[in-house]
Point group: C2
Chain length 217, copies 2
């Protein structure tokens, strides 16, 4: 299986990269820059690809991101909210239709490069806040991607029913170097510990009974 992983450099997609390699996939990767506040995640992803001698093309969707106002990720007028993911204010972090855009662009890159599958790190913890992480949405995109080219393109989402804790547990077994991942929305020298992404990451390590190496640096 020649599989293109949507690799953001965060915890989920980096674990996915290692997981699919461990299953014997011929793994390539691509990233997406949509005007997010910082590129620390992408830098982390580039390090991962470098380690395995593969390219890390980054699709620049900044122009589209700049057209999407009203969310904290691509609209600098909207502050990054603090608090738990489930809270109402976390809806401010939702970039409209982000996953469909990423899956569509990844599909294009995959077809142009002769891949027969794309993979992304959708997981159970995202369902409550991101409509485009719901299993029903993922299934429809799977069916659409199977028809978007004359050769069916598979969509792999092995973590879709996993919690972030499950992902970290599996990643520790696989030896994922979590010090080479980035999650915090704020993008400072150290994780802020206050944004939804930081809180969720801390919960994932707690669930897995592990310590986040990024906090030990």
């Amino acid at each position: 299986m020649k599989t293109l992983v949507i690799l953001s450099g965060g915890l989920d997609s980096t674990t996915l990269f290692y997981y699919l390699r461990s299953l014997g996939h011929d793994v390539s990767a691509a990233g997406f820059y949509y005007g997010q506040r910082h590129r620390k995640e992408l830098d982390a992803a580039a390090l991962t690809c470098d380690k395995f001698g593969i390219a890390y093309p980054i699709v620049n969707l900044k122009h589209l991101g700049g057209m999407l106002k009203g969310n904290s990720q691509t609209d600098k007028a909207v502050a990054v909210p603090h608090g738990h993911y489930e809270a109402e204010n976390m809806k401010l972090t939702v970039v409209p239709n982000r996953n469909m855009v990423m899956l569509a662009a990844a599909g294009a890159v995959a077809i142009a490069n002769g891949c027969n599958a794309i993979a992304y790190g959708a997981h159970a913890g995202d369902h409550a806040i991101y409509p485009d992480c719901r299993p029903a949405f993922v299934q429809k995109m799977r069916e659409a991607l199977a028809l978007c080219d004359w050769n069916p393109l598979q969509l792999l989402t092995p973590f879709v029913a996993w919690t972030k804790g499950d992902i970290v547990k599996a990643g520790i077994v696989l030896g994922v170097p979590y010090e080479q991942t980035w999650t915090c929305y704020a993008g400072g020298t150290n994780p802020c510990g206050l944004c939804g992404a930081c809180i969720e990451r801390a919960e994932a390590f707690a669930c897995a009974g592990a310590v986040d190496p990024l906090l030990q640096k």
Copy 2:
């Protein structure tokens, strides 16, 4: 219905724009630049929007287009083929996954602007060459777009079972100024008359029993 039309400035999407207006939709428009050889279609679309006092935002996907080699639309190393659409060499004009990318990006723009529908000019004549114009693909995208946000986003494709001749027939009744549309892949001062797009356009006008005003200029 607040509807965002994917308006390329060609025959199909311009007719769609007029058609939905005639049905009472509150129509807005967006274009896509993916590094195609010329911007004459987009210029034509801008004229149409100007006429009705609406904006014509163009989503710049040139960076993604540049990553997709092997097709005549975004890879300058591949020449524009001559001949009929059904011919094998016309496959060179297929930009991988183009329609999914456009629908996904249009969905993002539509959600950010409070639209409840997006529309595009898929029609029966495209099915044989473009996998992502097939009714089955369109239906899956319709189902995915209905789930990509908490509020369902509708996908309208009223021409999906129409021929290009049917589209021109309807457009003439609606008074579509076809001299303000552009179809030719080559982008010269006048249509080349040799590329698949020109041949198909000529057939459409012939089917509708009409003369293409672009050829009378």
